[in-house]
C-alpha cells in the first residue's frame, strides 16, 4: 500500500436516498498486486467496487486515479482509462452469442463491416486461456453459470486493463475452474495489473491476496498486508465475533424413506438416476459443473420433462408441474436466484410470500400476516437491507437469504437445495448450516447440491457423486474425502462404491 497507488478511494461515502451504506471508505490499489476486499453480506463491497469503476458516483469523498482526483461520468470513461469491472451479477445479453457479448461495444471492424473472423479467433484465444471450451457462436442463454462467468472474465481480459475489479468472480465456479481463474489473476499481476477482488471463500483470499481490506457495515475495519491474517482471523474480523466450528455436528438419525427415485432420466442431461432419501437425512450431491445435478432435480420437481419412477412417502407419484411437487411437500430451491429465484423489481414482502401465498390468503391476502412473516424472516435469516427497497437492490448475499426464507415458508417436507450458500458470507454460512441441520432434525428430508466440496463433506450424511448425468458413486462417513469425490466426479477412480445408490 505504497504511494504508487493506481486507483484509490479517499473518505468515500455513498447514500441511497437517506440511507448511507458506505461511511468514509479508504482503499488503494497498487500495480502488480492483488487486493482482496472481504466483508459480510451487505457490508458495501459491491458498492465500493462500483464507485471505483465509475458505475456509481460517490456521495462524498474522492476517487483518485494515479494520484489525481477524478470523476468518471460513465463506466465507459473509466474503462477508457484502463479500469474494468466484472459484476457480481452477470452482465450479458442472453440472446447474443459468446463472441458478440465479449466484443459488445468494442467490435473489431474492417471498414464499415464487422471483422467476424478476427473476433472469433480472439474469442477462442481468450477462452482457451481460461480453459473454457464453449464455441464463440454459442448463445449465452444456453450457457451454464460457470461458462457465463468465464465469458465475463474473457470480456474483462479483452480490455487489457490497468485495473481489474472482480466482484465475487468465483461464486459460481468449481474449485477446478477457480484454479484456472487464479492462474489468470497471477499472470495479470505479473504483467503489472492492479487487481481488486472479493470472495466469500476465504481460502482463495488467503491463497492469492497481497493486500487485504475488511469491511463491516459500510466501513473499513482492517486494512493491511494479507500475510498478517489467516483465514480464521479474517472470519473473526469480518463477522466481528469469534468463529466456532463452521459445520454443526452430524447427529442425524434417519427415519423412514421419504423419497425414492428409480431410473430418473432427464433427456439430454441425466440418465438413470436412482436414490433413496430418508427423513432426517441430509444427502449431498457432488459433481463437476455440467454433470447434470441441477437438471436431475429440476426434472424431479416438474421443472423439466423427465421420466422414471418417483415415490414420495412410499406412494408412486407423477409430477409434471412444480406446483404438484409442492403439493406433495417437495420443494426445489434454485441455484439461480437472479433469473429463477426472485422478482428483482418487487419488494421483499411480495417475494417472500410468493411461493406460499395460499397460507396468507383467505380470499384476500392478509398483508399484516405477510409483514409478520417478513419480520420473522429478517430476524431468522439476518437479512440486511432496507425493507422498502426493491429486491434487486439488496446485496447478493441478502438476496440468497431471502430466497432461502421464501422457500422455507412453503414448509417443505422434502427440500432440495441447489448451491445453498452461493455468495453468502462465512458468518451467515455457519448459521445456514445450523439451520439446515435443524430442518433435518425436525424430520425433513434434505438434498444439498453443492459445488463446494467442503460444504458437502461437512454437511451431508451421505454423498452421491454425479458425472455425465449419471450417479458414479455414493460415499458416506470416513470415505467422504475431497479426493474420493474428485476421483468419482472426474471418472478417474475405479468405482469402489456401488454405481447405483
Amino acid at each position: 500500500m505504497s504511494g504508487a497507488a493506481v486507483l484509490s478511494l479517499r473518505q468515500v461515502s455513498r447514500s441511497f436516498g437517506p440511507i448511507e451504506v458506505l461511511h468514509g471508505v479508504d482503499i488503494a490499489l497498487s500495480p502488480g498486486r492483488v487486493h482482496a476486499l472481504i466483508g459480510e453480506n451487505g457490508a458495501g463491497k459491491s458498492t465500493t467496487m462500483k464507485i471505483m469503476a465509475g458505475y456509481q458516483p460517490p456521495s462524498s469523498g474522492e476517487v483518485l486515479l494515479d494520484g489525481a482526483v477524478t470523476t468518471f461520468a460513465t463506466p465507459g470513461e473509466a474503462e477508457a482509462r484502463g479500469i474494468s469491472m466484472i459484476h457480481q451479477e452477470f452482465n450479458l445479453a442472453e440472446p447474443l452469442s459468446v463472441e458478440q457479448n465479449i466484443f459488445l461495444g468494442r467490435e473489431l471492424k474492417r471498414g464499415p463491416f464487422l471483422d467476424k473472423r478476427a473476433m472469433r479467433a480472439k474469442t477462442r484465444e481468450l477462452l482457451e486461456r481460461l480453459e473454457c471450451r464453449v464455441s464463440p457462436d454459442r448463445l449465452v442463454s444456453t450457457l451454464s453459470n460457470s461458462d457465463k462467468q468465464m465469458v465475463e472474465i474473457a470480456k474483462a481480459l479483452l480490455r487489457e486493463t490497468r485495473v481489474l475489479i472482480m466482484d465475487e468472480p468465483t461464486a459460481v465456479l468449481t474449485s477446478a475452474e477457480t484454479a484456472i481463474l487464479l492462474r489468470q489473476v497471477r499472470a495479470l499481476r505479473q504483467a503489472g495489473t492492479a487487481v481488486l477482488f472479493t470472495s466469500h471463500k476465504l481460502n482463495e483470499v488467503a491463497e492469492i491476496a497481497d493486500d487485504l481490506t475488511i469491511m463491516r457495515d459500510g466501513a473499513v475495519v482492517w486494512s493491511g498486508p494479507a500475510a498478517e491474517m489467516d483465514e480464521h482471523a479474517m472470519a473473526t474480523a469480518m463477522v466481528g465475533r469469534e468463529m466456532s466450528d463452521l459445520f454443526p455436528p452430524k447427529d442425524g438419525r434417519p427415519g423412514e424413506v421419504a423419497l425414492e427415485l428409480r431410473g430418473l432420466t432427464v433427456p439430454g442431461f441425466s440418465r438413470d438416476v436412482s436414490l433413496t432419501l430418508r427423513r432426517g437425512e441430509i444427502l449431498g450431491i457432488a459433481g463437476l459443473i455440467g454433470s447434470g445435478r441441477t437438471e436431475t432435480f429440476e426434472g424431479l420437481c416438474g421443472l423439466r420433462p423427465a421420466t422414471g419412477e418417483v415415490r414420495v412417502n412410499g406412494q408412486p407419484v407423477r409430477i409434471s408441474e412444480p406446483w404438484q411437487a409442492q403439493a406433495m411437500g417437495l420443494c426445489y430451491l434454485t441455484e439461480d436466484r437472479k433469473t429463477r429465484g426472485l422478482l428483482l423489481a418487487k419488494g421483499m414482502r411480495e417475494n417472500l410470500t410468493l411461493q406460499a401465498l395460499r397460507q396468507f390468503s383467505r380470499g384476500l391476502i392478509d398483508t399484516r400476516a405477510e409483514e409478520a412473516a417478513l419480520d420473522e424472516a429478517i430476524r431468522e435469516f439476518d437479512i440486511r437491507g432496507s425493507r422498502a427497497a426493491l429486491v434487486g437492490n439488496l446485496s447478493g448475499g441478502n438476496q440468497q437469504k431471502l430466497l432461502f426464507a421464501k422457500t422455507m415458508l412453503a414448509d417443505p417436507r422434502i427440500l432440495i437445495i441447489d448451491e445453498p450458500t452461493r455468495g453468502i458470507d462465512i458468518g451467515t454460512k455457519q448459521q445456514m448450516y445450523g439451520f439446515i441441520r435443524r430442518l433435518a432434525a425436525e424430520g425433513r428430508a434434505i438434498v444439498v447440491i453443492s459445488s463446494e466440496m467442503q460444504e458437502v463433506i461437512g454437511l451431508a450424511d451421505s454423498i452421491l457423486v454425479m458425472r455425465h448425468g449419471r450417479v458414479t458413486g455414493e460415499l458416506s462417513g470416513a470415505e467422504a474425502t475431497e479426493d474420493a469425490i474428485v476421483r468419482l466426479a472426474m471418472g478417474v477412480a475405479p468405482t469402489t462404491a456401488g454405481t447405483a445408490a
Partner: protein, 334 residues
Amino acid sequence: MTDIARAPAARPRLGRIRMGVIGPILALVVLMAIGASMNENFLSWNNMTNVLARSAFIGIIAVGMTFVITAGGLDLSVGSMAAFVAGLMILVMNLALPSMGVGLPVVMLGVGVALLAGLVAGLLNGIFVTALRIEPFIVTLGSMGIYRSLVTWLADGGTLSLDFGLRTFYQPVYYGGIFGISWPIIVFAIVVIIGEIIMRGTAFGRHCAAVGSNEQVARYSSVRVGRVRLMTYAALGLLVGIAVVMYVPRLGSASSATGVLWELEAIAAVIIGGTFLKGGFGRVWGTVLGVLILSMIGNILNLTDFVSPYLNGAIQGAIIILAVVLQRESKAGH
C-alpha cells in the same frame, strides 16, 4: 444500523411512486379544468354521466386488459370480439323472439349468450397463447381478423339489428339506472372495484404480476403460470361479454363497424394509467383514469369548434402523449 436504515428508506421510493400516482390524476384534472373553462355545461351532471356511461364499455374491457397486460400478455382482438359477440347476441335474441316473446326471458337468454360467447372467445385466445405458446400479438391479431370477418358474415355485410320492440324493452339497461346513475356506470364501478380488489388483494393479482415480471421465477415458485395467463384472457373475454350486454341496448345493432379500434383505446388507457406494457405491474384504478382521460378528450373536442374537425385526431394524439409525459416526467430525472 439495519434498523435505523429501515425507516427513512421508504421516502425516496415513495417520492417516485407518488409522481406516477399523481401523473394521471393531474392529467385528468387539467383536462377537466380546460373543459370547464370552455363550456359551462361541461361539468353538468348530464354531461358527466354521459361521459361516464359511454366510457363504461371500453372501461370494462380495459379492466380486463389490465390483467392481461400485467401478466405479460396483450389482446388486440377485443374490439372485433365485442362486435362478434354483439352480433351473435342480437341474432340469437331475434331468433328466439317469435317463440319466447318480448320479455325478460329472451333478454336473459341474450345476456347468457353474450357472456358465454365472450368467455369462450377469451379462452380460445388464452389457449393459443398458453398451450401453443404463440406470441399473443400474433394470436390476437389473427383472432381480430377472424371475429371481424365473422360479424360481417353474420350480418351479410350489413347491420344486425335487434327487433325494435325488444330493443325498447331492453333499452333501460343502458338508459335507466338508480338514483340517477345509469346502469353502465354502476356496472363499470362494480367491475372496477372487484378488479382493484383482485389485483391488489388476492393471490391471483399477485400471481399475474409475478408471471408478467418474470415467468421463470413464477414457475419456480410453484405458480401455475399457464393457468394464470389463461384466466386473464378468459376474464377479459367475460368482461367483453359484459360490455356487450351494456352496449347492445344502447345502439341495438352490430355491424363490421362496431368496436373498431377499441383494442387500441383499451390498451392506451391501460398504459396511460401506469400499467407496464411489458408486464409485471398493473393498477386498475389507473386504467380507470386512462379511460376517463381518453373519453374526456373526445368530449372536450365536441364542446367547442376552435379547430377543424379534421384535426381532432391530431389533438387527441398530442394529449395522449402529454398525459404520459406528465406522468413520466420524474422518471426522466431518475
